[in-house]
């Protein structure tokens, strides 16, 4: 139970970091921490009562989740790189949707 609370805490702290992040890399890192929090919750709750065999389903979910998180992280990093790289000059010079 403590671990799961820790997971929640991790989730929340990372969430705050995500919110306050301005640089994409920070956000990516924070998101990864967030996902760790979620995985921690899943795994911790799978063995709520000491002594009993852990529930394998959450474990499988965590593994799948990790793969998904890795994929997304990789994409995010490459996107960040692309953003920093001086891509071809913008062709649309209008004001974007937000802004007066």
């Amino acid at each position: 139970m403590l671990y799961s609370l820790a997971g929640i805490a991790l989730f929340c702290i990372a969430l705050r970091a995500v919110i306050l992040a301005t640089a994409p890399l920070r956000a990516i890192l924070a998101v990864n921490v967030m996902s760790s929090g979620v995985f921690l919750v899943l795994v911790a709750l799978a063995r709520r009562t000491p002594g009993l065999v852990a529930d394998p389903v959450p474990h499988a979910m965590v593994i799948t989740g990790i793969v998904v998180a890795v994929s997304a992280t990789a994409m995010a990093i490459v996107l960040t790189q692309r953003l920093r790289a001086n891509v071809s000059a913008p062709t649309v010079e209008d004001t974007p949707g937000a802004g007066p």
């Binding site: 969430l15 995500v18 919110i19 306050l20 992040a21 301005t22 949707g97 937000a98 802004g99 007066p100």
Partner: protein, 574 residues
């Protein structure tokens, strides 16, 4: 449809068709004159049935020309016929074609109205006549004609509206459009007096009833002679016919309305004569004479309303009076027109002698149609309640005196006014004028109603005294005038009461103009306000971009997402 039905239909149709066919180029004189031929033919060969029904036409039209209607139709057609021929050489220059189109349409309307026996058809013809007559009045474009035309058209509109109201109310309450049925049932109609009042107003404008007569002295002098002839000789009579058609004559006595008619008629008879006396233009004098004569006919209508049983003789008498007046007045107007043309001294004498004939007739001189007509009208008075009978016995001869004076004034003015300076005219107008004089003399004796009292020597003598009285009065008046040092008498303006009326009208218009200007300004302010609101709203929408920019910032959006989750979670607690 049989031949008679076709013939009746041709009465208004033929002039209308002629107008349409020849709107670009006027045909020969004789062809133009055929316009009135179907109407004459109807009088000569009256249809067997009192009414012919045309269920497919308008709202189910009924046409007929029996008894009094035939008499109305006869003289109207003849006057139009002569006027058409007269106009053919009289009207020249620009707008000639236009004049004839209006002339023929007015003729169609006039003749059609006389034979229409149902309200929509009558109204249609009446309107056609009224609106077309406008074209006749304003033929000679000048500020004066325009003014006359404006006054005329405004009154026509008021009249048409009143008539439409009267007819719709009558048809609505009685469920019929036939005049005969309306006459029958009007007494039972819930809004009887309203309907009658509207009809009095609507037809009164046409008939030149006092106060409503103001268009007559304006329109007649400005219109060309043949136009004046038909306006005064026939068209104004249509108003009278309208009364006879619409009011419950012969069905029930309406003492109130009857007295009103008699009093108003007498007032018109004298008022017209007196105001006419103080005019400088012979045609204006004739116009006022028409007002006066129509007054006498109005009295006739009043008597029928007072005493329903008098309907047959009096309506015949009225018709005969109208015939007499129509023929005489048209002859006078044509003559007055001729007087303004370039004429030699010989011709001037002929003219004056010729004009004296119808003048005498109007004055009711013995052996003239006037004598016949007046005696026919008076003949039935005895059947009236005493006080009315007495009044009429006194008033009508006095009216004759007034008319005689007026005619004298007219002849004097013509004599003074004639000159050699006017435009040249050919022979034809003179011939046609002669024809009209002939009709004045002959026709009344020919068609004189059988019921009229035979003419005896005492009658003839009795008929002379008003003339004599008039002569005496005239002499006295001239003497007094000379004694007073020939003061110049201020001329009454043409149209007399028109001046205050117009003042009222114009100021009312100004008032509404001002208030409508105020309304327009208010509307503009409102619109501007709305436009301002729209602009402000649009600016607000544009500014909402700032809010959107804030909303879509990463931090804000995520916090909002968080709050959304919290809110949902809290809401889920129920």
């Amino acid at each position: 449809m049989n031949a008679a039905a076709w013939l009746l239909l041709l009465v208004p149709l033929w002039p209308g068709l002629l107008a349409l066919i020849f709107h670009r180029r006027i045909p020969g004189r004789l062809v133009t004159m055929t316009a009135a031929v179907p109407a004459v033919a109807v009088c000569l060969y009256p249809p067997a049935a009192a009414e012919v029904v045309y269920p497919w036409l308008l709202l189910g039209t009924r046409l007929g020309a029996s008894d009094a209607d035939a008499m109305f139709l006869l003289f109207t057609a003849l006057v139009w016929l002569i006027a058409a021929g007269f106009a053919h050489s009289w009207i020249k220059g620009a707008g000639r074609e236009r004049f004839f189109v209006f002339f023929l349409f007015a003729m169609a309307g006039n003749l059609g109205a006389l034979i229409a026996q149902d309200m929509p058809a009558f109204y249609a013809c009446f309107a056609l006549m009224s609106f077309s007559a406008y074209g006749l009045i304003v033929h000679k474009t000048s500020e004066k004609t325009r003014h006359a035309g404006r006054v005329y058209i405004v009154l026509v509109l008021i009249g048409e509206a009143a008539l439409a109201l009267a007819m719709i109310l009558a048809a609505g309450t009685l469920g019929t459009t036939e005049f005969a049925a309306v006459r029958d049932g009007l007494g039972t109609s819930s809004s009887r007096d309203l309907i009658i009042g509207l009809a009095v107003l609507g037809f009164g404008i046409k008939a030149g009833a006092p106060i409503l007569h103001v268009w007559l002295p304006l329109a007649h002098p400005v219109a060309p002679a043949p136009a004046s002839a038909v306006l005064s000789g026939t068209m104004i009579v249509t108003g009278l016919v309208g009364w006879l058609r619409f009011l419950p004559v012969g069905e029930l006595a309406l003492p109130g309305w009857g007295s009103a008619f008699v009093i108003v008629g007498l007032a018109a008879a004298f008022y017209g004569a007196f105001v006419g006396l103080d005019q400088r233009d012979p045609k204006v004098v004739l116009a006022y004479s028409s007002v006066s004569q129509m007054g006498i006919m109005t009295v006739g209508v009043g008597t029928i309303l007072l005493e329903a049983t008098l309907v047959t003789p009096v309506s015949l008498a009225i018709a005969f009076f109208a015939l007499h007046h129509g023929l005489a007045k048209s002859a006078l107007f044509l003559g007055a027109g001729l007087a303004r043309s370039a004429i030699s001294t010989d011709r001037r004498r002929t003219l004056l002698i010729g004009l004296a004939l119808p003048s005498l007739a109007l004055a009711g001189a013995p052996l003239t149609s006037g004598m016949l007509a007046k005696s026919a009208l008076v003949a039935s008075d005895a059947a009236l309640p005493d006080r009315w009978a007495t009044l009429l016995q006194v008033a009508l001869p006095l009216a004759s005196i007034a008319t005689a004076l007026l005619m004298a004034r007219f002849l004097l003015l013509v004599y003074q006014g004639a000159s050699a300076a006017g435009p040249r005219v050919g022979k034809a107008p003179w011939v046609l004028w002669g024809l009209s004089l002939l009709l004045v003399v002959v026709l009344p004796w020919w068609v004189g109603p059988a019921g009229l009292a035979p003419m005896t020597a005492p009658d003839v003598l009795a008929g002379l005294w008003p003339l004599g009285a008039a002569l005496g009065l005239a002499v006295v008046a001239v003497w007094v005038w000379r004694q007073a040092g020939r003061p110049s008498i201020p001329a009454l303006p043409e149209g007399d009461v028109l001046l205050p009326l117009e003042w009222l009208f114009i100021n009312t218009g100004r008032f509404f103009g001002r208030s409508s200007a105020g309304a327009a300004a208010f509307r503009k302010r409102l619109l501007n306000g709305a436009a301002g609101e729209r602009r402000r709203a649009w600016a607000l929408v544009q500014r909402s971009g700032h809010a959107e920019a804030w909303l879509t910032r990463w931090q804000v959006a995520l916090v909002l997402a968080l709050l959304l989750g919290v809110a949902i979670g809290l809401a889920a607690m129920g």
